[in-house]
């Protein structure tokens, strides 16, 4: 009697083991299928555009739906410029927050408050950022632009980058905080025992130990910045012409791939136009993939050393 019961139990245990494993693999397979499906759809739908415009699409500078001339270059530049500028602005903040919350002040009400505030930054819908910045930040930038003698539009690549920077801080900060908290205390205690100051511990123990993880956080932020649409659309000025000097490009209006798609997709009224917009999505897909691959490469190299 007793023996049988135990046998039953182990049968059902075995069954659960199999079912659970099956659920896990199906879930991961679904994700792979969805990503592959997105890629296939993008290629198929943008095929008419690829066929008729060729590779010149990538460096064509004119986007003219009336005459069916499409070039993605201004938007490619706009996307990369806003994302990397935002990233450079956000890194000092996200690292500082990660170190402060991870090492200096990991517990207590102040830490909780700060942590919740940062999580809130990620929770605010992006259109709110867009319109807040349009009415508050843009006038500030405009007066700045008057002082440094560039055309005082207020909106443009620089303004969009500022807001993007705020929006992407939580991603790198949150990952950084949890990684820094996970640094084994024997390592830190050893350094302290040798007479290291707090700053020295951070510089020579914590940062080297968490380097690859912190970099992964930056990649996450960058991915978010590349694809961000609504806030950027409201703030970037939406001009597909490219200015001549870098100063004018940086402070003047521009456009990104994501915002062009968001702006024009709903009313794209002929086949080639629609296809060219979808090809923009395909280009954005590849840009993200390439940047992620480069990032992974850098992480592996750092970790090996």
């Amino acid at each position: 009697m007793d023996k049988n019961k135990r046998l039953d139990l182990s049968y059902s245990q075995m069954k659960w083991e199999t079912i659970f494993k099956r659920i896990l693999s199906v879930m991961s397979a679904i994700i792979v299928i969805v990503v592959a499906g997105v890629l296939i759809t993008l290629v198929v739908e943008s095929w008419p555009s690829i066929k008729s415009l060729g590779i010149g699409y990538l460096w064509g500078k004119v986007w003219d739906p009336v005459n069916n001339i499409y070039g993605a270059y201004p938007f490619l530049i706009g996307t990369l410029l806003t994302s990397f500028t935002a990233l450079i602005i956000s890194i000092p903040f996200s690292y500082a927050i990660a170190i402060y919350l991870g090492e200096y002040n990991p517990k207590g009400w102040l830490s909780d408050l700060l942590k919740n505030t940062i999580e809130l930054i990620a929770a605010v819908p992006s259109i709110i950022y867009g319109f807040w910045a349009l009415f508050v930040l843009v006038p500030v930038v405009r007066s700045l632009e008057t002082k440094i003698h560039v055309a005082p539009y207020g909106v443009g690549v620089f303004t969009a980058s500022l807001v993007l920077a705020v929006m992407i801080i939580p991603y790198a900060a949150a990952l950084g905080t949890s990684l820094i908290r996970m640094v084994p205390s024997p390592l830190k205690e050893g350094a302290y025992a040798l007479g290291a100051t707090r700053f020295e511990v951070i510089r020579s123990v914590i940062l080297p130990y968490t380097r690859s993880g912190l970099f992964a956080g930056i990649l996450l932020s960058l991915g978010r910045a590349l694809g961000e649409t609504m806030a950027v659309t409201v703030l970037i000025g939406n001009t597909s012409a490219i200015a001549n000097t870098f100063k004018d490009i940086f402070f003047g209006p521009g456009n990104t791939m994501a915002s062009v798609i968001a702006n024009e997709f709903a009313e794209a009224d002929h086949a080639l136009y629609l296809s060219a917009l979808i090809e923009l999505g395909l280009v954005l897909f590849f840009v993200t993939v390439i940047i992620n691959l480069i990032g992974k490469r850098i992480i592996t190299r750092y970790t090996n050393n």
Partner: protein, 349 residues
């Protein structure tokens, strides 16, 4: 083997989600989709229609282009569009589609010129030159000619246009194309064009934000939006040479001209001497032959009755919502168009 099996299961899961979605079509509700411009008017009319006749109408404001696509795919009973079907869309649908005017709307030119609170006058040609980036300062003699007695400041013009593809941009560029040859040659008309100058704002709200904040800015928005948000707007010169202030009356007047039988007409630069020149119909689109895709005769009749209601009783909802009601000649044309709709070749109304 295992990998293949889990892939199969995953595909089945995804497919079943898709299937359950498409199976949930409604039976006793008329479906429409399209223009966002006409959405506030439609929702008012349709809620009243439901109260009076107990027929529900579900209208999705997804944009004119989207509405036409939905109609082409036969997933809706009618589409809403601010522009008639273009050649490519016509070819894709393949069968005759009726355009029924529902109301008209105007696009107004708003500005932010310190010292000129109201009453700026602009000719169509100058307006196009401003948008071409050829007139770049408010003190240009060309603008001054149209505005005797108005002191225009020495201030750069900041051109603002819509960044999103929209019927508003279509109407505006359609007008510029008619009044300025260079515009017609270089830019043309569409819901999104290659703007030679200026900034793009997202939606009416985005354009309003930029115009209100930027000294020297000029932008265009829908009349209803400008009235609701107290934006100053310019009088624009019409074909007869008169400067017309955009109002609901001057908008309606612009369509009080001899209209073609299919109502597929661009109203911009109207022949009516009292009409405001930057206006357009917004249309509801339905198939001429209503027996398609297994539709019942009853459903076809319901749809036609709804359209009939829209162009008659529904028109009283226009003015309070800042839409211009149809002119007399437009209602007459619309009636004729509705009577031409058929079910199995027989007239429905």
């Amino acid at each position: 083997m295992k990998v293949v099996k889990s892939l199969q299961l995953a595909i089945v899961a995804i497919a079943s989600i898709c299937l359950s979605q498409s199976a949930s079509a409604q039976d006793n509700t008329l479906l429409g989709a399209g223009s966002t411009f006409v959405y506030p008017l439609f929702s008012k009319i349709f809620s009243e229609y439901d109260a009076a006749k107990h027929v529900k109408v579900n209208y999705q404001a997804i944009g004119s282009g989207g509405g036409i696509l939905q109609l082409t795919n036969k997933t809706v009973d009618f589409g809403g569009s601010d522009a008639p079907l273009n050649e490519e869309q016509d070819k894709k649908i393949g069968v005759p589609v009726l355009h029924i005017p529902m109301a008209s709307g105007a696009v107004v030119v708003s500005y932010n010129v310190p010292g000129v609170a109201t009453g700026l006058k602009l000719s169509g040609k100058d307006l196009a030159d401003i948008y071409l980036g050829k007139i770049t300062n408010w003190n240009s003699p060309l603008i001054a000619d149209a505005n005797p007695g108005v002191k225009l400041p020495d201030l750069g013009i900041v051109v603002v246009h819509r960044s999103d593809g929209s019927g508003t941009s279509f109407i505006f560029t359609d007008f510029l194309t008619k009044v300025n040859e260079e515009w017609a040659k270089k830019v043309g008309k569409a819901s999104a064009v290659n703007w030679p100058a200026g900034l793009g704002g997202k939606g009416n709200a985005g354009v309003e934000g930029l115009v209100k904040q930027t000294p020297g800015a000029i932008g265009y928005v829908e009349l209803a939006y400008a009235i609701q948000n107290h934006m100053p707007f310019a009088s624009v010169q019409n074909k007869s040479g008169k400067y017309i202030t955009p109002t609901l009356e001057t908008t309606t007047l612009s369509s009080n001209v001899t209209l073609p039988a299919d109502s597929k007409v661009s109203l911009t630069n109207t022949d009516n001497a009292k009409g405001y020149p930057i206006t357009s119909f917004t249309w509801a689109l339905i198939y001429k032959e209503q027996n398609y895709g297994g539709r019942s005769a009853e459903r076809a009749k319901q749809l036609l009755e709804l359209m009939w209601y829209n162009i008659h009783e529904g028109q009283k909802d226009c003015a309070p919502l800042n839409y211009a009601p149809l002119s007399k000649s437009a209602v007459k044309v619309a009636e004729k168009i509705l009577k031409s709709a058929t079910y199995n070749g027989k007239a429905i109304l």
